[in-house]
């Protein structure tokens, strides 16, 4: 039996979320009663008869018609379809990848880094991922990866001629291997000049100099700079190996690019329970700071121990501040619309509200090869590690390679990995928020395999109800804002040629 999930906006308006269509509806106790009667196959007259002592007749009729209308989409039905956990067919996976995938090839230029950020995935705080190394990708490996990517694109453009392929450089700190970045770009220019490639680089910017910056700008790189906020915030986590803060150096290096008025530079920020959000909000409004495109809280996946350093009070403090910031933002939205420059609060509250509503695929059946969760089909993009193995993305650990530069992308292996993953989705068939699920592989991986969803998903319904409640609170105040947000934001990302996960 499917439970009805209710949530309330700040104003106390009651809504019910329907997991079959992915939509939420304003609801009343009468609506719930009518749903029960319709499920019991009662006719209009019988329903009115049963309920008219407690409710107004017109009202009963409305809800009867409403629930009936929506039953065409099986909304409010008491059961939901089981998911199929069959291993997908490798041929279908291949066809999907050729049509919808291959959006970006990301090369890990080096695993080495001149920083020792405290939350870094290579730090000791993450059990299921390996530590730093001094490995660099050599050009031979990069060349093979590029050749393979372009040979796939050559076939794939027959399935999607409108793809906008991208090549990204990632690390460690990719500027430590700037030689490689340069050689790759030159190589693509020479061998694959028939493609228009978007370049991206994710960097800590500390090694930026005039030569490198000029090169990146000349080739229209989307430059994403990891920057956590003002000095005291940033330097708390982002430090050199000797423990010294990195803020001053970064701002100096970035200023060259900013002063040129280069548009395609952006900031990526990470915060934790100690961050002062109001401070961040002010900082990222500054004109001399690259505009913020992504902000996220320190990751808790992959056996993360980072949060052990904090006390209960720290969390309480953080929680209160989030509440205050949200409140502040919601008040601001009355009569205000999206500014040109997205702020910390826009991203934290506005974007997440828009996402929690519009990321959901409504009504239509999910893709037959990915029956639920938000995991992408591996091959949607490709991440190449320093040794030339392909992975699903830069965030997932190395336990699930999906091919390598010698043998190419291995579709059979991808199908197997997906099949294996599906086997672990044991609680998804009955999950009450399946259509809104935001979990991806990263939430399930260990160094050996996948955890099952019954182990990973605790309190998911409460947490989705919370984000829906926030989103609907904003929607009640400023529906246009909410509806325009996702498209505006996507346009901004596009301008920055930023390829998002």
């Amino acid at each position: 039996m499917k439970k009805i999930m209710k949530f309330y906006s700040k104003s106390g308006m009651e809504y019910v979320y329907d997991n079959t269509t992915g939509l939420s509806f304003p609801s009343t106790s009468l609506m719930e009663r009518v749903i029960q009667e319709v499920q019991g196959n009662l006719s209009e007259e019988e329903t009115v008869e049963r309920l008219k002592s407690d409710f107004n007749e017109e009202e009963i009729l409305f809800w009867y018609n409403f629930v009936n209308k929506w039953s065409k989409f099986k909304a409010f039905s008491s059961t939901q379809a089981q998911i199929s956990v069959e291993k997908p067919d490798a041929e279908d996976v291949k066809e999907w990848i050729l049509r919808e995938g291959l959006n970006q090839l990301t090369l890990c230029a080096t695993e080495d880094c001149n920083f020792r950020c405290k939350y870094c995935i290579y730090s000791d705080n993450y059990e299921y991922s390996s530590g730093y190394s001094h490995k660099y990708m050599d050009f031979e490996t990069a060349k093979k990866a590029l050749d393979h990517y372009f040979s796939l694109l050559e076939e794939a453009k027959r399935y999607n001629p409108w793809r906008e392929p991208a090549v990204g450089f990632y690390g460690g700190e990719p500027l430590l291997n700037f030689k490689l970045v340069k050689r790759c770009v030159e190589y693509i220019k020479k061998e694959y000049s028939n493609y228009k490639i978007l370049y991206t680089i994710t960097t800590n910017a500390s090694l930026m100099n005039k030569e490198k910056a000029d090169f990146l700008m000349q080739h229209n790189f989307g430059i994403a700079v990891s920057l956590d906020g003002p000095e005291e915030e940033h330097d708390r986590n982002r430090v050199y190996a000797n423990g010294k803060g990195t803020f001053k150096d970064i701002m100096k290096k970035v200023s060259y690019v900013m002063e040129k008025g280069y548009e395609k530079i952006s900031s990526l920020a990470i915060f934790d329970w100690k961050s002062d959000l109001f401070n961040l909000q002010e900082f990222f409004d500054r004109e001399d700071v690259p505009r913020l495109t992504i902000i996220s809280v320190v990751n808790t996946d992959m056996g993360c121990n980072y949060y052990k350093q904090f006390s209960k009070e720290d969390f309480q403090c953080h929680f209160e501040q989030m509440k205050k910031a949200k409140q502040h933002y919601v008040e601001y939205l009355i009569g205000n619309n999206l500014k040109k420059r997205t702020s910390v609060f826009d991203l934290l509250f506005g974007l997440s509200a828009a996402r929690s509503i519009f990321q959901t695929p409504f009504v239509l059946d999910p893709s037959p090869i990915m029956p639920c969760t938000s995991s992408c089909i591996p091959g949607r993009k490709l991440y190449v590690d320093v040794d030339g193995r392909f992975h699903t993305c830069e965030r997932i650990n190395k336990a699930f390679p999906i091919g390598d530069v010698e043998k190419g992308l291995d579709f059979e292996r991808i199908a197997e990995m997906m099949g294996n993953y599906f086997q672990h989705l044991d609680s998804c068939s009955n999950c009450g928020v399946r259509r809104m699920c935001d979990k991806c592989y990263c939430a399930f991986v260990t160094d050996k395999g996948f955890l099952s969803s019954s182990q990973v998903c605790k309190d998911v319904e409460a947490s989705i109800a919370n984000s829906l409640s926030d989103a609907f609170t904003i929607g009640e105040i400023n529906p246009e804002f909410l509806e325009n947000f996702s498209s505006n934001y996507n346009r901004t990302l596009k301008k920055l040629e930023f390829v998002e996960d």
Partner: protein, 378 residues
């Protein structure tokens, strides 16, 4: 109290009046200017109570709430996904004109330059030179369409009977590769034997001037009529019929014609509605490949050549000509003069080829008796 339309009901505003589209039932409710103002302010979450609104509630289009509500509208798929750059083209239909010869001389044939309101569904021979593509090339094109995830194909001519071996060869090759295959035949080319062969393979569209002359349960009929004769035809409502109005200039049209009157508004499916918001209702996501390999937005737009794929693959046209394709595909009625002011613009059908011929403009509009400025049907 706050009145809000239900999630499945969209309010679309014209320059004077508005309409409510009920996407589940498929009905469209035209509002007068007063009702329009009322519903518009309700949708902006302004408090209102009124008899008109109570009636809308009786129709199950909306309800009263004692607080401001956010109504999450019915949508299909994920709006965020679709707005990602680099999304593949959504090719819904392709017309394949696999031959261009015919021994008949129908008065309504495209050959004579006469204007047809649904000529794409019929056959036409064209006064165009050039060698017809080989069967082998057509088979490659079928594979190319399949890779582009084309949903439906329409196989048309000329008289396909004159090249029946080729037709069968191509049909057999396409069998099972698409959601649906349609094939157009003139009634005289249509026979028991052919019906049998086509069963489970393709949906025949039979072009005819007289409905009574043929018996076939499973066929769709395309009836060609002169507009001035339409009123006297008694046979029309009996079968699955599409009406193809044919005329030199469509100058004097009797009133109450499906071409110009209220009857032009289709019962709206939610799929069509979401399509129409982004694309032209008809030429959006459609392509035509002429017998010589020319690629056209639609079979009747002979002057807009997007390229020729005799010697190159179809995808190259997408690769290099996105803007040119989008010019036709994204031509929603928001871009058509008159229609852009009309509240019915996402439910209205619209033969662009015919309108262009009549007005000389790709975005012109002649065939419509509605006056959006006044909110009246003439």
């Amino acid at each position: 109290m706050y009145f809000r339309l239900n999630p499945e009901c969209y309010f679309i505003k014209g320059s004077r009046c508005g309409a409510i589209y009920d996407l589940i039932e498929g009905n469209i409710y035209a509002l007068d200017s007063e009702e329009t103002k009322l519903v518009e302010s309700c949708e902006k979450n302004v408090e209102k109570e009124n008899k008109i609104l109570e009636n809308l509630k009786k129709l199950c289009l909306g309800n009263f709430y004692d607080k401001r509500a956010y109504i999450e509208k019915l949508r299909l798929g994920s709006p965020i996904e679709e707005s990602q750059p680099g999304h593949p083209p959504q090719l819904n239909r392709a017309f394949l004109e696999i031959n261009n010869s015919c021994n008949r001389n129908c008065w309504f044939c495209g050959y004579h330059g006469i204007k047809r309101s649904w000529g794409c569904m019929g056959c036409n021979k064209w006064n165009e030179d050039g060698e017809t593509l080989t069967t082998e090339r057509w088979k490659e094109i079928i594979d190319e369409l399949k890779r582009l995830d084309c949903k439906d194909i329409f196989i048309t001519g000329g008289d396909l009977i004159l090249a029946w071996d080729k037709t069968m060869d191509i049909l057999d090759y396409a069998d099972g590769k698409f959601r649906k295959i349609y094939i157009t035949l003139h009634e005289q080319s249509f026979s028991e034997k052919i019906v049998k062969y086509l069963t489970d393979k393709a949906q025949p569209i039979v072009q005819t001037e007289h409905l009574d002359s043929i018996q076939s349960e499973d066929s769709i009929f395309l009836l060609t009529v002169r507009p001035e004769e339409f009123k006297n035809r008694k046979d029309i409502n009996s079968k699955k019929v599409m009406i193809d109005f044919v005329s030199e200039d469509f100058s004097s049209l009797p009133p109450d014609m499906p071409l110009t009157s209220k009857r032009k508004l289709a019962k709206e499916s939610m799929y069509q509605f979401f399509h129409n918001i982004k694309y032209h209702p008809c030429i959006g996501n459609t392509l035509t490949i002429s017998h010589t390999g020319k690629v056209l937005p639609c079979p009747m737009m002979r002057n807009h050549v997007l390229g020729n794929i005799r010697d190159r693959e179809l995808y190259t046209l997408f690769e290099n000509g996105k803007e040119e394709i989008d010019k036709f595909w994204n031509l929603t009625l928001d871009n058509i003069e008159k229609c852009r002011d009309c509240e019915f613009r996402y439910a209205c059908n619209n033969c662009r080829a015919l309108e262009e011929k009549l007005t000389g403009k790709l975005t012109g509009k002649r065939l419509c008796n509605y006056e959006p400025e006044e909110g009246k049907w003439l």
